[in-house]
Amino acid sequence: MSSRRAWPILSLLLGLVSPRGAGAALGGDAASIAADSATLGGTREITRTVAWEVHVLRLPSGTVVREYVLRGGKVFAIAWGGPVIPNLRLLLGSYFEPYVKSPQGRASGHHLRVVATPNWVVQSAGHTQGFLGRAWLPTELPAGFDLDTVRAW
């Protein structure tokens, strides 16, 4: 939620832009992606299909984040890949705390973490200098969307 942002003033401004609350990227709207991009730095490119947009954020760390947002709707998926895990608290928003507090599955080691619920899924994998992961909202996926395209590596 916006209350976790480091800069309350920015949150307030975003609140004005998006009356329902810009919140975090996942589950938020396109404005929340712009806010993510402003906070994380780097560049942002947008490609559009009829139903959704893909925002590609190239962060200063070298990590690439791709956010998938319904046109006029919610961010329904995020992928990342690169030398550093991006700021998942920002990108996952209200899903971050449940993600980190979920019990690990049976001994998956340090190179994989998965939390799957009916409404949200987060998958993080990889090793030093080579991380990859994705998150999505199963109930928000547009018709005809291929989950295998949610990747940034």
Partner: protein, 409 residues
């Protein structure tokens, strides 16, 4: 269990084999050493074990070794068992709570003079703690004045958001799964140029901290947390992990060897092993499996199992085994691993019912596999290591098989 150690054993070992360990051309001196001599004088081997880990951890497919830390230049030391052996990360990290009070290791400082505190990420979380310097003994090898991390050793300085936002904190024995973790992967330093950049040091890695305020710090590569292997006087170009074959049903515990150096002694020759070179940044090679080209693949002793995408193999229905494969009968599968050098290795592997495997209470399971949730990679975890010798060559280091980085098996 963590025990206070002495240097007597190490000093004795070093004296006993000093003539071979101090050769500058280590590759040439050991060719005529027979087995008896190796047993008596070998210094480049550390015993490793796959067991249930420290009390309360209940580990499965986690590889451990024992390490002795000393205050640099002194004989004030502590021996720490159940340190995880991870070829998928870099650097030695010890959980602060296992350190004895007498082992006061000198703290590293940032360029600002403030304490240097590191955030080190894994896919599932992070370590947060100060960088200190220690003499590190593993097997008979010694690396002097090694920058290491004390996980959880900066409790009064909360991790910055860019760190804590990577996942969950793993600075206790139960959350880390060991008393520490030694990363002996393909890099010599745990970050590299990105963290040495004095203009814009990478966020989420090294921090200069004063009070509870931390700002990203530029750290020269040699001052970053180091792969201790690369700082050994010899046998420093990589490692070999050697584990015996086990039965398909698993084994209660398994012991093996962590051998330092590649082609530097009689016990670490490449022999028939084939080399696949890897991307110098990511460590990836390409696995082709079931008509899928998986370009972000890696070999990693710190992963508990095989992980690969496959929609045909039934997954387990038990909640705690979400994502693991539970085929009704064991499967014999084949994949091909191809390096950047275009060398391909046809690699057979087996997958068995994870529910049945876990039911045995064994700590070592060779046919354990989980679905790769993110598309595009095959993780050859500890399941892969049984019955093999797996080499990991450090980036830029010369070996008889060429320069690292590479994997060979």
């Amino acid at each position: 269990m963590v025990t206070r150690g002495t240097l007597v054993a190490y000093a004795f070992a070093l004296i006993a084999c000093g003539s071979s360990s101090t050769q500058t051309d280590a590759g040439a001196d050991a060719a005529n050493t027979n087995d008896a001599d190796v047993d008596a004088g070998v210094i480049n081997v550390a015993p490793v074990i796959v067991d249930q880990g420290p009390a309360g951890v209940g580990a499965v497919n986690v590889l451990y070794t024992t390490i002795t830390l000393c205050i640099p230049g002194t004989t004030t030391c502590q021996t720490i068992d159940h340190v995880e052996v991870d070829t998928g990360s870099v650097g030695l990290r010890i959980v602060s709570s296992v350190l004895d009070a007498f082992l006061i290791l000198p703290a590293a400082t940032a360029g600002s003079g403030n304490p240097l505190i590191e955030c080190y990420q894994y896919a599932d979380g992070y370590n947060w703690g100060p960088v200190v310097t220690a003499d590190v003994h593993i097997g008979g090898e010694t690396a002097a004045s090694v920058p290491i991390q004390i996980a959880g050793g900066a409790a009064s300085t909360p991790a910055p958001s860019a760190c804590s936002s990577a996942g969950s904190e793993e600075d206790t024995v139960p959350t880390l799964g060991g008393n520490g973790l030694v990363g002996i992967g393909f890099q010599a330093a745990d970050c590299g140029n990105a963290c040495a950049n004095t203009t814009t040091p990478r966020t989420g890695s090294y921090y200069s901290c004063t009070g509870t305020t931390c700002t990203p710090a530029a750290v020269p590569i040699a001052s970053q947390v180091q792969n201790p292997v690369s700082l050994f006087p010899s046998d420093n170009n990589g490692v070999a992990v050697e584990l015996p074959a086990i039965d398909p049903g698993g084994a209660a515990t398994v012991t093996g060897s962590l051998i330092f150096g590649i082609g530097t002694a009689s016990n670490n020759a490449l022999g028939a092993a084939q080399i696949i070179t890897i991307d110098a940044t990511t460590g990836y090679f390409t696995t082709v499996f079931a008509d899928q080209t998986l370009a972000a693949s890696f070999i990693d002793s710190g992963s508990v199992s095989y992980a690969f995408p496959d929609t045909a193999i039934p997954q387990c229905t038990t909640g705690s085994l979400t994502g693991f494969f539970c085929p009704p009968t064991s499967l014999s599968l084949m994949a091909t691993n191809t390096g950047q050098n275009h060398v391909s290795i046809a690699t057979p592997f087996n997958v068995a019912d994870a529910n049945g495997l876990y039911g045995n209470g064994d700590a070592a399971l060779n046919d354990l596999a989980i679905t790769a949730f993110t598309p595009g990679y095959f993780d050859w975890g500890l399941s892969f290591f049984y019955g093999r010798t797996v080499f990991t060559a450090i980036s830029g280091a010369m070996t008889p098989g060429g320069a690292g980085p590479y994997f060979a098996y």
